[in-house]
């Protein structure tokens, strides 16, 4: 399953140049890396959001593969429909190619408004891969909070102010919710190294049945980071254990990245302007402690699930 980057430099990505995603955005990198190792032709279904809007400003489409967008909350149902058509037409001898089906949704269209549609598609056991590019907010409409937004983040519908330290709730564990559908492959990853996203998505797409990959990606504008820090911030997310990197294959949990040192959560939060308020004044200390406590507790849960210990 190991991916060698060099093998893919001449392979055309399903996503072309000329898209309008922001400079340094993590989403197109995730798309390029994720689909790099997929050998079969793919059809992409995309929920409304940054990726959808910025790659298909009519008449300029950045998709080299068949692509369809209908609405925000229904990528799960959308990919179900295309896959159902494929199965039907293949059975009737009208198609003989092997084609794979990939749905993209942001955390908005996946964790929140699109959760039902995703759940239904997973439950039906159809053969598709759903990739969530998770930048922790409804970024396309101006960084409103989603259930994936980190605790303490300044989001435009849970702003930090004199009466608030930002979003009060910790992020929803969607990957676990998806795993509870008992589908054959579930993974959580980020752009922290050169190959993890490519390997996990390849495995997801090649696994028959429903598969899900939750990829944490930065939003340069609304995380408030320098665009060049794309990989760095993802590495911090993994190293601080804010975003554990793991996969679940047929119900068996496997931790695929174990940080070598204990890195405090502040290291992930400090480079991001959306957490700036947590480093001013005493009032935010409590919030920082809560965030660290959440990370530690959730990490322990992952360790237990994966049958791992962590001595640092």
């Amino acid at each position: 399953m190991a991916i060698r980057i060099k093998d893919f430099t001449e392979k055309e990505s399903p996503l072309t140049n000329g898209h309008r995603m922001c400079p340094g955005c993590g989403a197109p990198t995730a798309v390029h890396q994720g689909l790099m190792g997929v050998e079969s032709p793919v059809v992409v279904v995309n929920a409304t959001g940054c990726l959808e809007v910025s790659t298909t400003v009519y008449p300029f489409s950045s998709w080299r593969v068949p692509w369809i967008h209908t609405a925000f909350e229904n990528a799960g149902a959308g990919v179900s429909g295309v896959e159902a058509a494929y199965v039907a037409l293949k059975k009737r001898g009208k198609i003989d190619k092997e084609i794979k089906f990939v749905a993209f949704g942001g955390d908005g269209g996946t964790y929140d408004i699109g959760l039902q549609s995703l759940s239904g598609a997973l439950e039906r056991g159809q053969d598709f891969t759903y990739i969530c590019y998770n930048n922790g907010g409804y970024m396309n409409t101006g960084a409103q909070r989603s259930s994936a937004t980190p605790k303490g983040a300044n989001a435009t519908t849970s702003p930090a102010g004199t009466a608030s330290a930002g979003k009060p709730q910790k992020p929803k564990d969607l990957t676990a919710i998806v795993e509870a559908h008992h589908i054959p492959y579930v993974a959580q990853t980020t752009l922290f190294n050169a190959t993890d996203v490519a390997e996990k998505v390849k495995r997801a797409v090649e696994t028959p049945g429903p598969a899900f990959v939750n990829i944490l990606v930065p939003c340069v504008l609304f995380w408030g980071i320098d665009p060049s820090l794309q990989q760095d911030i993802c590495k911090l997310a993994a190293d601080t254990r804010f975003w554990p990197v793991y996969e679940v294959v047929d119900g068996v949990w496997k931790l695929t990245y174990k940080p070598k040192k204990r890195v405090p959560i502040e290291e992930f939060l400090k480079p991001q302007a959306r957490f700036r308020h947590l480093f001013k004044g005493d009032g935010s200390k409590a919030m920082l402690e809560e965030i660290q406590a959440d990370v530690d507790a959730d990490w322990q849960v992952i360790l237990d699930r994966c049958g791992e210990t962590w001595e640092v």
Binding site: Y58, T70, V82
Partner: protein, 388 residues
């Protein structure tokens, strides 16, 4: 040989679906259309069809999956009613825009609140602007025939638009009556195979559906949909004649019942037409020149033909089985508009009846005709069968 059986509107529609054997059906149950996916599931389970039947988890997902399957190149059918149709509202215009020729069994039931499972047209009327063709069926035979005809109409290259085949909830959908069912081979030959223009599954010729279209393009894309609807008016009769050739039954856009020399015409849709037609016959016996115009095609609305039919009347009443609260009821609005555009200043009485399944009795029709004859027509909306 065609066979005759006693069946319901729902089962007749499902039987048409069996004979059409679409590639994909994605459907969710809701009273009173539930029988359609249930009957169809039975066909699937017993190998009577080899359709890919997707048991989606909501109506919104049903219509979404239907559109993406159709855009992928599959022939798709589904069914729903009432609040299920309302839940699909967001997505219907997308089917219209993408030109996906879905045939949809819309079993008319009122939209809540109050929650009520019985018939009125508030569900389909709320979708009259979505870019779908609307055909309203009077009885189970018509529902069966229209389902089959609609496939050819929807997939016609100059049309390529989705179709609602409407029938009255419970009244038609659950009422049992004799229906002539064509032979499987006749239906199969009539509908043929779908030849999709820009299928997603043609991976060698990738297409992008659902781009973000700014103000420089949106209007033009919509104008094309308007043109497709205009084309329906041109091609429909040809498709209906082709259907007549295999079935012996011709379904016009507008069903004229003794309207040619009528002084007083009642305009109505779906099952209540039967009541009106009976009363027309009664009144004709008494020397009153009554007539009934049953509108079968509501979208596109054949305004010119309607105006022609009503041109000679002294007074017209329009029966709407839906309100447009705060405005003119949908069918009445179309009728008044058609007459106005043709310079016909005929008095039109707008009436609303049958909401939430309230029965429509012959005496309401009788009283209505008598009022028209007595010149009792006003611009005030009237409510037939309301306690007042």
């Amino acid at each position: 040989m065609p066979r005759r059986e006693i069946t319901s509107g729902n089962w007749a529609f499902a039987e048409a679906m069996r004979q059409i054997n679409p590639d994909v059906v994605a459907a969710y149950p809701i009273t009173p259309s539930t029988d359609i996916p249930m009957k169809f599931a039975d066909f699937v389970a017993n190998g009577k069809v080899d359709t890919n039947f997707v048991t989606v988890e909501s109506e919104h997902s049903a219509i979404t999956a239907s559109i993406t399957a159709s855009a992928a190149g599959a022939r798709v059918m589904t069914a729903s009613s009432a609040n299920g149709v309302a839940l699909m509202h967001e997505i219907f215009p997308i089917a219209g825009c993408f030109r996906t020729p879905i045939v949809f069994g819309l079993v008319n039931r009122c939209i809540g609140a109050p929650i009520n499972i019985h018939c009125d047209h508030s569900d389909s009327m709320a979708e009259r602007d979505a870019g779908w063709i609307h055909l309203y069926c009077e009885d189970a035979q018509e529902a069966y025939d229209t389902a089959i005809l609609a496939i050819r109409l929807a997939e016609h290259k100059d049309v390529l638009s989705p179709v609602f085949v409407c029938q009255d909830g419970f009244i038609t959908s659950h009422g049992f009556e004799p229906v002539e069912i064509l032979e499987d081979s006749t239906v199969k030959a009539f509908v043929g195979e779908r030849d999709a223009d820009f299928p997603l599954l043609d991976v060698d010729n990738p297409v992008t559906y659902g781009s973000f279209a700014m103000s420089e393009y949106y209007f033009e894309i919509k104008r094309q949909q308007v043109e497709a609807m205009k084309n329906v008016l041109k091609v429909y009769d040809g498709v209906a004649k082709d259907y007549e050739a295999v079935s012996g039954r011709f379904y016009p856009k507008l069903d004229r019942y003794r309207t040619e020399d009528a002084d007083f015409i009642v305009v109505v849709m779906s099952s209540a037409s039967g009541v009106v037609k009976d009363v027309v016959d009664e009144l004709r016996e008494q020397g009153i020149k009554a007539g009934c115009l049953r509108v079968r095609m509501f979208r596109p609305f054949p305004a010119d033909e309607v105006a022609e039919i009503l041109a000679g009347a002294k007074a017209v009443a329009v029966l709407d089985r839906a309100l447009s609260i705060g405005g003119t009821a949908p069918l009445a609005a179309e009728i008044k508009s058609a007459l106005y555009d043709c310079g016909k200043n005929i008095p039109v009485q707008s009436c609303v009846y049958g909401l939430g399944g309230r029965d429509f009795f012959p005496q309401y029709a009788r009283e209505l005709f008598m009022d028209l004859a007595a010149g009792k027509v006003s611009r005030e909306e009237r409510y037939l069968g309301l306690l007042e």
